[in-house]
Amino acid sequence: MPGCRILSMGLALAVSVGGVIGVAVGLAQPPASGVQEARTTWARPGVAVVTSKPLGFANDPSKEPGFKAGGMFTELLSGVPDTLNPLTARKGVERRAEGLVMQPLARYDPMTLELRGILASAWQIDPAGLWMRVKLNERATFSDGKPVTAEDVRFSLKDLYANPKVMKPGSAIDLSELKSVEVLAGEVVELTFSEKRLTNTIGVLTSIAIFPKHIYSGMSPEELTKSTGFLVGSGPFMMKGLGTDPKNLGGQWVPGTTEIVLTRNENYWGPKPPLDAVRFVAVADAGARLKRFGEPDVDAMIPDADQFQKVSGDKELLKTVSPLAVTSANSLWMGIAWQCGGKGGGTGPTTPFASQDVRRAMAILIDGNEVIRTIFSGVGSPITGPGNPRLRWYDTSLAAPTGPVEEAKKLLASAGWKDRDGDGTVENEAGQPFAFEFIYENRESFTKLGEYLTARCRAVGVRCTGTGLSGTELTARLKARTFDAATVGAAGAMDWNPEMSWHSKSAAGEGRNYWQWKSGAADALIDAGSAELDITMREATWKKLHGVIASEQPVTFIRVSPSLMLVKQTVGNVTKTRTGVLTEEFFKMAEPAAAK
């Protein structure tokens, strides 16, 4: 019937149109997550694209009570910088200005530790790890107002960081595996690598400061490396009084100048910092630094542990000063390494710690909580691995070996150490007494640790002799592997690279596996994790590795030491994050705030 035909045609038309509309609407929807299939024109097809929400304030200062824009924040540095040049800087104090003046392509979110774009808005990483494509943030500009371009990225990587005339071999930044950097249309840059390594991809995103080519290209390699304070970037601050003419470096900071002054970058493309200026003052002597901190023009300083304890216990000072102990992802961990291999390396005589049972016995004897409470004045937290709970790969379910002294004795006995002659000291089957030397850096806290270990070992019939050494002497003996037991430590790392310290191939030569621990299980996990570029999968592997290390105890981990800071209560928005405190989000208050 004609009516039915019209109806069916109408229905078919409606369905078709509705279907077309539905497909169009579906295509226009943003993806639920930050990863999407590569439908964008700049990306290589078939490889996931990671897009990133722009990184703003971790904690918006304007929402804090007492917020006031303006003023200068002054922090006392604990060391004297020799240079501020990111290409030649070696000390932490030399990188403070760089962190505020220059920016990398991406950074870890201070609250979640997720990777977030700064100068990059999106990126692709080859699953085989041999290339990476980065799309730049179109809003990003340098302090002179000029946009950050792909050519600036290429210049920074190829002409600066990967240039052997600029970066010396074995520098902190190693781009020897960077094969090429190509500028593509639409402010996209593609990097290719000769090896699959996380440091080649994630490392490039997070560790390379991007230099403006239009300013730095006029400098020769020698001028670039000799420059000490010519710092121009895209960050929220800029060097005070510094021009942008590389041929006229008269305004640059020079060594011997104890103050570094940064002013707010009024052309900053991101959320503007509240402070007008930030000043760093280098005061090398700790006593002089504390005295200087008392002056009204100083807002913060990094104290040593004794100064921190003194301020924390002073009720008068606590009315105006907030002592902060911030455990961040990069906080230092500390432990006692047991020599698992031959002393001196290779075929040298083995120590009793070659036995896992002996190491576990030692771990039982050392109560991390007690050590922290009695020796380190309660500053720090106990740990079970080479990191801290702030890190996503750290397995918080693991516990340190504990138990009564008898448990330690049983483990020693199972390893062949018994008191065979009733003199109170355990001996092996050959009659040799269990005696070892514990070396540490000559500091009061480590000396006390030596006394603690000696006393605990005496309880199980082991003779321990503590020896305090200078820092360089301790390092020399660690490198030579000529120790029985030694204090060791390192900074935590979000992109943990365990190969240098925990793989068996690092037990000799240039490796930092000074305790010569060789574990097939650990090697397999390290090899697998090192080849993995997916951060989540990698962290899962590191979690397992943490478990192996905690079980086999090549190092008995004692504590993670927080970064200490004294901040006056006239500074607002001092928020503890997983990456530390963020100077660029501080503000100066009219009235002091209560301690947080």
């Binding site: 010396k168 071999p169 074995g170 006593g287 002089a288 005295k291 008392g294 020399a476 030569g509």
Partner: protein
């Protein structure tokens, strides 16, 4: 005299070489050795493999020759320092200026670093020397001329007390009492809010760079400015006091002894017998001869004018030679330490020679052979 001076100059060469070689060998023998801080560098950032660490070791060895024998390293440094350059088919290339090399820590020329630090230590020590002379010589002379009197007893006790005070404690006390707005005596003259009597540290104020004037005066906006000269003087007052007080005690004591010896001499008795006034006897026949020993002592200390005091420079945060030497030793910075030792040794050897010549000039009884 000329032969003596020439002989001393020739002998100065092995003296300088001996001093620098001894320091170098001792540094090489210490744990960590030469370049210890370079090789023990924390591998932060992207150093990801033993290959990178090996590359760094190779680079450091090639650049600084760290794995060469100790004497070879020293020989290379000495060859750079000598004005006669060797090489080529004839052996001697020519004459050139001494090349003290570059610091291992920051790759800056040693000469540049020394040029920054020497004026600080020199300025402090010269100021301290002036203070010492102005106070110690008159007070010591008066004590010697009035030996056994109340001034002699009082000043001797004071000098002993000064000499006994450790410089670390003295520095901490002056800071606590007088330095900064939180000092005990801050705002003592009634200024509310606590005005700093003296600054806590450094060589000059943080805003000194904005001043145009060297001398005190008003700026364009009518505000009074200390000027660089007065500002620097204000900053070095406390460090100079800490540097000077112990030397005041020593020099005053020595002046007293020399004056007492001089006052008991035969020619003084003769002068008194001749009828000269006590003042004339004191000036011409007692003080003048006793100053000979003092002047030669001061001349011999000229070499130490640029040597810094580690303690004072640390307490008052002054970038001087004392701290430089400590930093160089701690880092095993070969070039920097040797350059510093070379400079100090040359100056000390020269100062000793000047002191000897001066002594011979002032005292005709002395003959230099």
């Amino acid at each position: 005299m000329r032969a003596y001076i020439l002989r001393r100059l020739i002998l100065a060469v092995p003296t300088v070489i001996g001093a620098t070689l001894l320091v170098f060998v001792l540094m090489a023998a210490t744990p960590g050795g030469i370049g210890g801080s370079l090789r023990g560098d924390g591998d932060s950032g992207l150093v990801s493999s033993t290959a990178s660490a090996a590359a760094r070791r190779e680079y450091l060895n090639e650049r600084y020759g760290l794995e060469s024998p100790v004497l070879v390293q020293y020989g290379r440094w000495l060859a750079g320092v000598l004005p006669v350059k060797f090489g080529g088919p004839l052996g001697v290339v020519g004459v050139g200026g001494p090349d003290l090399g570059r610091s291992m820590q920051n790759d800056r020329p040693v000469v540049t670093i020394l040029a920054e630090r020497v004026p600080v230590s020199l300025g402090l020590n010269v100021a301290a020397l002036l203070v010492v002379c102005l106070i110690a010589i008159p007070s010591g002379a008066l004590a010697g001329l009035r030996a056994g009197g109340w001034w002699d007893r009082l000043s001797s006790a004071a000098w002993l007390l000064l000499w006994s005070v450790p410089i670390v404690w003295a520095g901490a006390m002056v800071l606590h009492l007088l330095a900064g707005q939180s000092a005990v005596f801050a705002g003592w003259w009634g200024e509310s809010g606590g005005r700093a009597v003296f600054p806590i540290g450094g060589i000059r104020s943080s805003d000194a760079g904005e001043w145009a004037s060297f001398w005190p005066g008003s700026d364009a906006g009518g505000r009074w400015r200390r000027g660089l000269a007065l500002d620097t003087l204000w900053h070095v007052c406390l460090p100079v006091v800490c540097l000077a007080y112990a030397d005041i005690a020593i020099l005053a004591r020595m002046t007293r002894s020399a004056t007492v010896d001089g006052a008991g001499a035969d020619h003084v008795r003769t002068a008194v017998a001749k009828g000269l006034s006590p003042g004339a006897v004191a000036r011409r026949h007692v003080l003048r001869p006793s100053l000979v020993a003092i002047i030669t002592l001061l001349a011999s200390s000229m070499g130490g004018l640029i040597a810094g005091s580690v303690i004072v420079e640390s307490v008052f945060d002054l970038p001087g030679m004392g701290r430089l030497v400590m930093e160089a030793i701690q880092a095993g910075d070969r070039e920097l330490l040797l350059g510093t030792v070379l400079l100090l040794t040359v100056l000390n050897v020269g100062a000793m020679l000047i002191a000897d010549v001066l002594y011979a000039r002032l005292d005709p009884r002395v003959e230099l052979r």
